[in-house]
Symmetry: C2
């Protein structure tokens, strides 16, 4: 039994893997593989419709916000967001909370003017800046809700006089959000939604079509909305597996139930990090992510042996990102409390060994 | 037993489906699903490297041409090609051979000037224009090598004084091509390479970085080349299944062997269409595609009953595209001669029934 703490692509529920495997050989008793059916078949149209319906239900997406399943990951959204929302001559406001926020800023600057309202780069992004002001003349305000690399998370939607855009790649569907507060939300699927290869976009329709820019159709949200995410051949399998995963989440009781589980999982692990004298968390306690728990050993020489012990216990994917070092335990929706307890046990065992 | 004649996403070899299904539960005995491993793991790096190596070997891609696995399908390439190859103030030459060629033209016009060298729209794209001249001052010349909807195919690489760019989505890997003749080749995977969700691009390195345009990194081929198709999280599963399918093709003997099979399959089916008084091919005989065989019934009232008979015989995906009507038998690499013979048998049975 392995517990996969990898940051992404990452763990999904075992039952999702098993049902997906069956569909690769025989999808819904059609005698055909999910990989060989037409995206225009009624069978796949049903998959697309159910996936959208599940997102709408689980996140309580209001009327007037469209739901899209696109390709290209969050990195493509770094460009598409300003292409679609930032008029020539306008400016966009961004919050800089880490590697991915910085990349979003860098790409937006290629499209137009960008005002960075605040940054925590002064302290290697260990905290979320507060007390900044979003300029009222910006076309939109962009922030990254969870910083996978640095282990920080924004739990309260920032106050903004302009539409809020959020990259929620690594915490979407892990907790309740009020979608009506957002102009646009995007998320690479490969954390809590599904496998790599599909990107969720939720966009308030009335914000679109106002920049006067001529866009290639494929980079314009509107043709995708008009075609129900079938403007071009969608990533069939990634959408199908996302549907299975959303069904699993719904059966569990939905976002509110998983949020409570995620709170308990995160608390269990942070409590041990704070208690165990051999370890130390790297993120500011008030901004600690519930998805990616970053920590180091107090003694640098303990790093390799702890990683070794963890591996022996079947705990994989714990090595920290090079920007932070140490360890990163990604405890996404599908990583059970059993997995977290196994990690805590390993930390306590390691403490015993090093007394 | 079903024979899947669907135009795409489409049939792949049964053994590919079976191995892919096993990997969705347990990839390479890692105890993890292919869907949950990191794209930065050594296991996936090996998959990416082998996939690239197989494309290079099977298509004899020369040194100086890079191989990329991107997202977004051919529709994304309709924009990326001019963004990367067409300098501001320059013009690009396009051949208009059908729906997809027209879309490529429409998108390129949003980026710069386009000169359409010839079109077969006058005859509902039933033939490939010939005798046109490609202007020497164009940045590149673009054509679609196989027209999935209209059932026509360009077998000889057009003469061009400027770099040739080809959308080979529906015939790549079905026959020998001389990659050195091309500046850029692109192909949505979902015909002969793999499942939907990944796009193959083969590009001559020396053509890049010359337009002076500032591009979002995700739409610029160069960062993808520098990162070995890992600039952002790649579509892991679609690449993995492509690798399995390319292994299958190599084990069969490669492109030359499959080309001979494809010639025989196409000839078998076209011979029956020409012989059987109830049916008629829609494409000009000299331009008939080996991948998508388009045909109609002489008597319009025979259409529905023949489709019904075919369905009873397990022959699926035969309904023609609305632009042509009638039938379209897509006979990609993985559709065996047994499948073609079953279709021919059904056509002969239908002839008997309607004597």
């Amino acid at each position: 039994m392995k517990h996969n703490f990898g940051a992404g692509p990452c763990i999904l529920p075992q039952e999702v893997f098993e049902e997906a495997a069956r569909a690769v050989v025989n999808f819904n008793d059609t005698g055909l593989s999910i990989l060989e059916i037409s995206h225009r078949s009624k069978e796949f149209e049903a998959v697309m419709a159910e996936t959208e319906r599940l997102v709408r239900e689980l996140l309580a997406v209001p009327h007037g916000h469209s739901i899209l399943f696109l390709q290209g990951g969050a990195s493509t959204q770094f460009a598409m967001v300003p292409m679609n929302l930032l008029p020539p001559g306008g400016k966009a406001a961004y919050l800089d909370t880490g590697t991915w926020a910085s990349k979003a800023i860098k790409e937006a600057k290629k499209i137009g003017d960008v005002s960075v309202v605040a940054s925590s780069s002064d302290a290697n992004y260990t905290y979320i800046p507060k007390g900044y002001e979003v300029p009222g003349d910006a076309a939109y305000f962009h922030y990254t809700s969870n910083n996978t690399i640095f282990g920080t998370e924004v739990f309260e939607t920032p106050q903004s006089p302009v539409p809020v855009v959020s990259d929620m790649s690594s915490d979407i569907l892990s907790r309740r959000i009020n979608v009506a507060d957002f102009g646009l939300i995007y998320a690479g699927a490969q954390k809590n939604m599904g496998p790599a290869g599909v990107t969720l976009v939720i966009v308030k329709d009335e914000l679109l079509g106002k920049t006067g820019r001529t866009l290639p159709a494929i980079f314009d949200y509107q043709p995708h909305i008009a075609a129900g995410s079938m403007y071009n051949t969608p990533p069939v399998f990634s959408i199908y597996v996302s549907m299975l995963n959303l069904r699993w989440l719904k059966a569990k009781g939905g976002v509110d139930v998983i949020e409570q589980e995620n709170i308990i999982k995160a608390r269990t692990l942070y409590d041990e990090i704070d208690r165990n004298p051999l370890f130390r968390g790297t993120a500011a306690p008030e901004d600690r992510s519930r998805m990616n728990v970053t920590f180091v050993t107090e003694n640098k020489e303990h790093e390799a042996p702890f990683l070794e012990l963890a591996k022996e216990r079947g705990l994989v994917g714990l090595k920290g990102h090079r920007s932070v070092g140490g360890f990163r335990a990604s405890i996404y929706n599908a990583l059970s409390i059993t997995g977290v307890n196994a990690l805590v046990d390993a930390m306590q065992e390691f403490e015993e060994q090093n007394k």
